[in-house]
C-alpha cells in the first residue's frame, strides 16, 4: 500500500473534491481518496496495479493537476 499526500491548487469547491474522488476511485488499485476543499489537500492510498504516474495523469486529465 502506498500513500501520497499532495495539494491540488485547482480545487475551488466541494464539487471539485467530489469529482476528484469519483475519478480516482475509477482507477484500478486506488483504495481510498481523502480530500479537503479548504486546504486543497488530497490524500490517496493505492496498491498495484495503480501507480503514481497514472494517478497524476488522471488528475491532469480532469484538470486538477497535483502540485508536488
Amino acid at each position: 500500500m502506498e500513500t501520497k499526500t499532495f495539494v491540488v491548487p485547482n480545487i475551488s469547491c466541494e464539487h471539485c473534491v467530489r469529482s476528484i474522488k469519483n475519478e480516482l476511485a475509477e482507477v484500478a488499485g486506488v483504495q481510498s481518496v481523502e480530500a479537503n476543499e479548504n486546504t486543497k489537500v488530497v490524500q490517496v492510498n493505492w496498491t498495484a496495479p495503480a501507480n503514481w504516474d497514472q494517478i497524476k495523469a488522471t488528475l491532469a486529465e480532469i484538470d486538477y493537476p497535483p502540485q508536488e
Binding site: 485547482n10 480545487i11 475551488s12 469547491c13 464539487h15 471539485c16 467530489r18 469529482s19
Partner: protein, 865 residues
C-alpha cells in the same frame, strides 16, 4: 415520431448546482463519456449544458434519463419541468402503454407517469410528464397524445396547472353533455326508424296504407309464417322474393329509413367509428371496433340493397338501434364517472371561496373580503361563528370550538385558543377567531386529502386487470366466432347471405364488453366514496380489494392503540395523615415548573380535579431520579426509589410492594415524600383509546388475528394489551424490525395489515399488504400507508375490512352480470334464433347489462356496510 434518433440533435439543458468553473468542466467531461452523446459544452455563467445527442439505438427518453442521471451523479441537477395533462379516451392498459410510448418518444421528455391507469377507473385520467423545458413544449405533448388516438381537453392545454382541476371538470361536464346530445339524437331518429320498419315487417303499414307497403321480404326468415299470417291483406308473390322486387311504396319507405338513419350514423355513431378506426390503426380491437363493425356492416349492407346491388331486407333500423342503445350505455358510463368522483368534488367544495383578511392600513386594521387563492402565508384571517376556516393556520386571537369532523372524522368540536392550529375547511362554531395562515393552496391538510383520494381513485385494481385481460381475449375471440357463425351458416347451413350476415352481426353486437369494463371501476368508486365518508381514505384500489383478505392485523402501541400521552391513574396516600388530594396537590405543585411529560400529567390531573396548586420554591431536579422543591414551606420530593434513598426517606415493605405492583401493570409509579417522610405513591400510564377494546373485539370476531407491536418494554406492552384485549404482543422491537416482523408473517402465508402512526412505523406500513396510517399521526406514515384512518379511530380497521369485502362482492356481482348477458346471448346469436330482431335484442341486452352493472354499483352506495 420515430423511436430512435436518426440524426444528431442538440439540446440545451438547464443545470443547477454549479459553484465554479471547474464544475462546468466536470459536467462536460461526464457528458462526453455518456454513450449516445457526441458532444457537450457547459456554460458556467448561463448554467446551461449544450448536449449533442447522436444515437441510433436508444429511445430519446432513456437517453435523456441517462444524461440527467449522469449529471445528478456528478453532484448537480437538471431543472426539469413537470406538467399534468388530463387525457380523454383512455380505456385500457394497452392504450395506456401506447400513450406512454408516444410521449417517451418525444425528445426532451424524461419521464411519464400515468396518474393511475385510473383512466380505467374512469376518474382522473391524468398523465404526469417530466420534461426538459425548452426542448419540448406542452403543444408537442398534446399533439403526441392526439396522434396516439387520445384527446386532451382544449381548455386544459391553456389553463395553468393550478386551474387544471377546473378545466378537467369542465371537460368532463362537456363530455357528459356531448354524450347526452348524441344519445338523444340517436334515440330521436332510431326510434321512428325502428317503429316504421317494424310496422312494415308486421304488416301494419300494408293494412293501413295498402298492399304496396307489404313486408318486403320474409321467406328466408323463420319469422315468415308469423308475418305471413299477420299480413292477410297482402300475401307475398313468389317473384317479389325471387327477384328481390321492391314495390315503389316500399322503396319510398326504404329511402325514408335511410334518411332517418343517416343522422344516427353520422352523428351518434361518429365517436365509435373514430375511436374504432384509431384502435384498429394501433393494432387493437376494442368495444368501439365492435360497435362500428356491427352497425357499419348493417348500414352498408342496407345501403347496397337500396341502390339495387343486393336484394333483400334493409337493416337500417338495426344499425340505428345498435348505436342508439349503446349510446345510452355510454352516456350512463360517463355520467357514472362524474357522480363517482363526487367525493373529491365534495372535498373541494369544503373550502370557502373567500376569506376575511385583516390588513393593516396605517394605524388600523382593515377587513377585506379576499378570494382564497390570494391568501398569503402570514395573512391574519378573521372567522366568524358559522363560517368555515379558509386555510390552515395558527390561532392568534379569540377562543372558539371548531367542528373538525370533515377532516378528522371526530364529531366532537375541538376547543381553540391562541396558539392552537386550525385546519382549512373546518367549521367555526362559537366565537370569533383570528388566525395566521401558515399553509396555503396545495399544502393544506384538505389539499393533501384531495390528493390522497385522487391518487386512490386513479390506481388500478388486480381484478380490474383480470377484467381487462378477459376483455382482450374476448374481443378477438368474438370476432372469430362471428366469422365462424357467418361461414357456418353460409356453407353448412346453406342459408342466404343476409341470414348468415345478420347472425354474425348478432354475435358482434352481443359481445361488446362495455358492461365488463364498467364492473370494477364503478364498484371501486362507490367503495372509496363510502370509505371517505367514514373517514377511511384508500390511497389505491388495490388496498380496497386486498383488505378483504386480511388475516392478521399488527397494531403499533403508542398513538395507535393508546392515546400516546400519560395520564395519572392512581394516587395512593401512604401516611395516615395525608389524603389523596393532598398528595396530588403537593406533587403537582412541586412538578409545576417542569416540562417533563410525567410532570405535565400530574399538573393536568390536579387541574382536572379542581385542585388549586401552591407556589413552589427552590426547585431541584435530580436527573434520572426525580425532583425536590419547597411547597408551602415543606420539602416535597417526587421520584423513584433512588431519590428516596438519597433523601433518606424510610420506605416500608408494603409501600415498596405497592410500587412494584403498579409497575407490573405497566405503569410509571413514583414515590411522594414530604419532609423526608413517605406521603404516597402516584402512578401514571398511557391509556388506551376509547374505541380500542371494541376495535380489537370486532377484528377478533372477524377471525383476524391481532398482534400488538411496540418498541416499548414487554411489561408496559403486556399491560396495555390486556386492557385492549390483544392476545399477542411483540415488545422491544427496534424500528427497523417492524417491517421484518411483517415480512415474517407474510412468509408464513398471512395477509398482513399494519396499523401505525409514527415515522418508525413507515417501513412496516409500506411492507404490509395493507398499511393503515392513523390520520392524527405523522405525514410520513400516511405517505407510506395504503389507507389513512382519519381521526385515529382504530375501529375503522375492522370497518375498512368490511368495506373491502363489500366492495369485492360488488365487483364480483358486476362481473357476473356483465358476463352473464354476453355468455348467454352469444350461443343464442350463433344459433340465429333471433333472426330478424336479433341485432336489436342483442343491442338491447347490451344496454341492459351496462345498466344493470351501473345500477348495482349505485345501489351499493345506499347499502350499509
Amino acid at each position: 415520431m420515430s423511436a430512435t434518433l436518426t440524426h444528431p440533435i442538440t439540446l440545451e439543458l438547464p443545470v443547477t448546482g454549479m459553484t465554479c468553473v471547474n464544475c462546468a468542466n466536470t459536467i462536460e467531461r461526464t457528458l462526453k463519456k455518456t454513450p449516445g452523446v457526441s458532444g457537450a459544452a457547459v456554460n458556467y455563467a448561463s448554467e446551461r449544458a449544450q448536449v449533442v445527442f447522436d444515437s441510433h439505438q436508444a429511445q430519446p427518453a432513456d437517453l435523456m434519463n441517462t444524461v440527467v442521471a449522469r449529471i445528478r451523479k456528478a453532484g448537480y441537477d437538471v431543472a426539469l419541468a413537470h406538467t399534468n395533462l388530463p387525457v380523454l379516451g383512455l380505456q385500457n392498459a394497452a392504450g395506456a402503454n401506447r400513450l406512454e410510448m408516444a410521449l417517451k418518444n418525444l425528445i426532451g421528455v424524461t419521464g411519464v407517469t400515468l396518474a393511475g391507469e385510473g383512466a380505467l377507473a374512469g376518474v382522473a385520467s391524468r398523465i404526469s410528464v417530466d420534461y426538459v423545458p425548452g426542448a419540448v413544449g406542452i403543444a408537442e405533448m398534446v399533439a403526441a397524445v392526439r396522434a396516439a388516438g387520445f384527446d386532451v381537453p382544449a381548455a386544459a392545454v391553456n389553463a395553468s396547472r393550478e386551474a387544471a382541476g377546473d378545466a378537467e371538470q369542465m371537460a368532463r361536464t362537456a363530455e357528459i353533455q356531448d354524450r347526452k346530445r348524441r344519445m338523444l339524437v340517436g334515440l330521436a331518429f332510431a326510434l321512428p326508424t325502428f317503429v316504421l320498419s317494424m310496422s312494415r315487417d308486421f304488416g301494419l303499414l300494408a293494412r293501413v296504407l295498402g298492399s304496396g307497403f307489404a313486408p318486403m321480404t320474409a321467406a328466408p326468415m323463420t319469422a315468415a309464417p308469423m308475418t305471413a299470417a299477420l299480413t292477410t291483406a297482402a300475401p307475398m308473390t313468389a317473384d317479389m322474393m325471387a327477384m328481390g322486387h321492391i314495390s315503389p311504396e316500399n322503396n319510398v319507405i326504404n329511402w325514408v329509413l335511410l334518411a332517418l338513419t343517416l343522422p344516427v350514423m353520422l352523428y351518434t355513431a361518429q365517436p365509435y367509428f373514430v375511436h374504432g378506426y384509431k384502435a384498429i390503426r394501433n393494432g387493437a380491437a376494442n368495444m368501439d371496433v365492435l360497435v362500428a363493425l356491427g352497425s357499419g356492416v348493417a348500414f352498408v349492407y342496407s345501403l347496397l340493397i337500396l341502390l339495387g346491388v343486393f336484394s333483400g331486407h334493409v337493416y337500417f333500423e338495426t344499425a340505428a338501434m345498435i348505436v342508439a342503445l349503446i349510446s345510452i350505455g355510454k352516456y350512463l358510463e360517463v355520467r357514472a364517472k362524474g357522480s363517482a368522483s363526487e367525493a373529491i368534488k365534495r372535498l373541494m367544495g369544503l373550502t370557502p371561496k373567500t376569506a376575511r383578511v385583516l390588513r393593516r392600513s396605517g394605524e388600523t386594521w382593515v377587513e377585506a373580503e379576499v378570494p382564497v387563492e390570494q391568501i398569503g402565508i402570514g395573512d391574519v384571517i378573521l372567522v366568524k361563528p358559522g363560517e368555515r376556516v379558509a386555510t390552515d393556520g395558527i390561532v392568534v386571537e379569540g377562543r372558539s370550538a371548531v367542528d373538525e369532523s370533515m377532516i378528522t372524522g371526530e364529531s366532537m368540536p375541538v376547543d381553540k385558543k391562541p396558539g392552537d392550529a386550525v385546519i382549512g375547511a373546518t367549521m367555526n362554531k362559537e366565537g370569533l377567531l383570528k388566525f395566521e395562515a401558515n399553509k396555503i393552496g396545495k399544502d393544506t391538510a384538505l389539499a393533501q386529502i384531495i390528493r390522497l383520494v385522487e391518487q386512490a381513485q386513479g390506481s388500478k385494481a388486480p381484478i380490474q386487470a383480470l377484467a381487462d385481460k378477459v376483455s382482450a381475449v374476448f374481443v378477438p375471440a368474438v370476432l372469430l366466432i362471428a366469422l365462424l357463425t357467418f361461414a357456418g351458416w353460409l356453407l353448412i347451413g346453406r342459408v342466404p347471405f343476409e341470414v348468415a350476415l345478420i347472425n354474425a352481426i348478432s354475435v358482434l353486437v352481443i359481445a361488446c364488453p362495455c358492461a365488463l369494463g364498467l364492473a370494477t371501476p364503478t364498484a371501486i368508486m362507490v367503495g372509496m366514496g363510502k370509505g371517505a365518508e367514514m373517514g377511511i381514505l384508500f390511497k389505491n384500489s388495490t388496498a380496497l380489494e386486498k383488505a378483504a383478505e386480511i388475516t392478521t392485523a399488527l397494531l403499533d402501541k403508542t398513538g395507535t392503540v393508546t392515546r400516546g400521552e400519560l395520564k395519572v391513574t392512581d394516587v395512593i396516600p401512604v401516611a395516615e395523615a395525608s389524603s389523596e388530594i393532598e398528595v396530588l396537590r403537593l406533587a403537582a405543585s412541586a412538578e409545576k415548573g417542569s416540562e417533563h411529560p410525567l410532570a405535565r400529567a400530574m399538573v393536568q390531573a390536579a387541574e382536572a380535579r379542581g385542585i388549586a396548586l401552591s407556589a413552589l420554591q427552590r426547585l431541584l431536579a435530580v436527573p434520572g431520579k426525580g425532583l425536590t422543591a419547597y411547597v408551602d414551606g415543606r420539602q416535597v420530593s417526587v421520584g423513584n426509589v433512588a431519590l428516596m434513598r438519597q433523601q433518606a426517606v424510610p420506605l416500608t415493605e408494603a409501600a415498596s410492594q405497592q410500587l412494584s405492583d403498579l409497575q407490573a401493570q405497566g405503569k410509571t409509579a413514583m414515590f411522594v415524600a414530604v419532609d423526608n417522610q413517605l406521603a404516597g405513591i402516584i402512578a401514571m400510564s398511557d391509556t388506551i383509546k376509547d374505541g380500542a377494546v371494541d376495535a380489537i373485539r370486532s377484528l377478533t370476531e372477524r377471525g383476524v388475528r391481532t398482534i400488538m407491536l411496540t418498541g416499548d418494554n414487554a411489561r408496559s406492552a403486556q399491560a396495555i394489551a390486556q386492557q385492549a384485549g390483544v392476545s399477542e404482543v411483540i415488545a422491544d422491537v427496534l424500528p427497523g424490525q417492524k417491517a421484518e416482523k411483517v415480512a415474517a408473517l407474510q412468509q408464513a402465508g398471512q395477509v398482513v395489515a399494519m396499523v401505525g402512526d409514527g415515522i418508525n412505523d413507515a417501513p412496516a406500513l409500506a411492507q404490509a399488504d395493507v398499511g393503515m396510517a392513523i390520520g392524527t399521526g405523522t405525514d410520513v406514515a400516511m405517505e407510506a400507508a395504503d389507507v389513512t384512518l382519519m381521526g385515529g379511530d382504530i375501529r375503522n380497521v375492522a370497518r375498512a375490512i368490511a368495506l373491502s369485502k363489500f366492495t369485492v362482492r360488488g365487483i364480483k356481482q358486476n362481473l357476473f352480470w356483465a358476463f352473464f348477458y354476453n355468455v348467454i346471448l352469444i350461443p343464442v346469436a350463433i344459433a340465429g334464433v333471433f333472426q330478424q330482431f336479433g341485432p336489436i335484442l342483442a343491442a338491447g341486452a347490451m344496454a341492459f347489462s351496462s345498466l344493470f352493472v351501473v345500477t348495482n354499483s349505485l345501489a351499493l352506495r345506499r347499502k350499509k356496510v
